[in-house]
């Protein structure tokens, strides 16, 4: 079963920071406040135990810039 991944729409992201707060295991923040995937990938993989938190992060992003794929 392929892991779910988080797709970031960079054209929408406005560094509101909810994702980094709700998913600190997956996201840090870069010097300008934008989400920085800790695993260095373009679309960070979401381990099953964080699936619930990832869904919340997607729902709560004020810019609808996050999407769960897979």
């Amino acid at each position: 079963m392929t892991a779910q991944r988080l797709h970031i729409d960079w054209t929408r992201c406005d560094r509101r920071g909810s994702c980094a707060e709700l998913l600190p295991e997956l996201f840090a923040e870069d010097p300008w406040g934008y989400p920085l995937a800790r695993d260095g990938s373009r679309e960070p993989a979401v381990p099953p135990e964080l699936a619930r938190h990832a869904k919340r992060a997607v729902a709560r992003c004020p810019r609808l810039a996050l999407r769960l794929t897979g």
Partner: protein, 201 residues
Amino acid sequence: MTDALWYLGRGTGVVSLVLLSLVVVLGIATRSGRPLAGMPRFAIGALHRNASLLAVLLLGIHVGTLLADPYAQLRLVDLVVPFAGRYRPLWLGLGTVGLDVITALVATSLLRHRLGQRSWRAVHWLAYLCWPVAVLHSLGTGTDAGQGWLRGVVVVCVGAVVGCAGWRISEGFGARPGRGAGDHSGQSTVVRQATARSGGR
């Protein structure tokens, strides 16, 4: 009994106004992308949402009790069609407009993911129309209109919202300070200056 309904209607009206003002303030705080009073940003957003749902609840009671109260002369059609009411039609009409807009705001927000960001945003800007309408409605409709305590409440609400709105349109609103430089220990002046020059954006 009708007295109780009347008091309940007026009371929930005032509390709704206070809550709506709080919702606008929290909405601006959410938009600012900054933490507030020790709360992380996602929590401010959640507080804004919950306060608005509470406001809707109280608004529902406000409208419901007045519908039930014969003295208020409120009909169902007055909830949707403004300025056609029997009792102080102009001021009541403003309340209708406010109610309709709030319904749209909440409905679009609940369906935000389905509607998409652009449509949601277009409707959400109406919040800045909705709130002054609610204030005018409060001042014009209620039998407490002339009372000092109501005026005091309104002054506080208006002060808070206008103050926040002023901050919202100010230059400093967009420039959010970045968090630490992460793994990199110490930014050079070049980086700091360049960041500031690009408006931090």
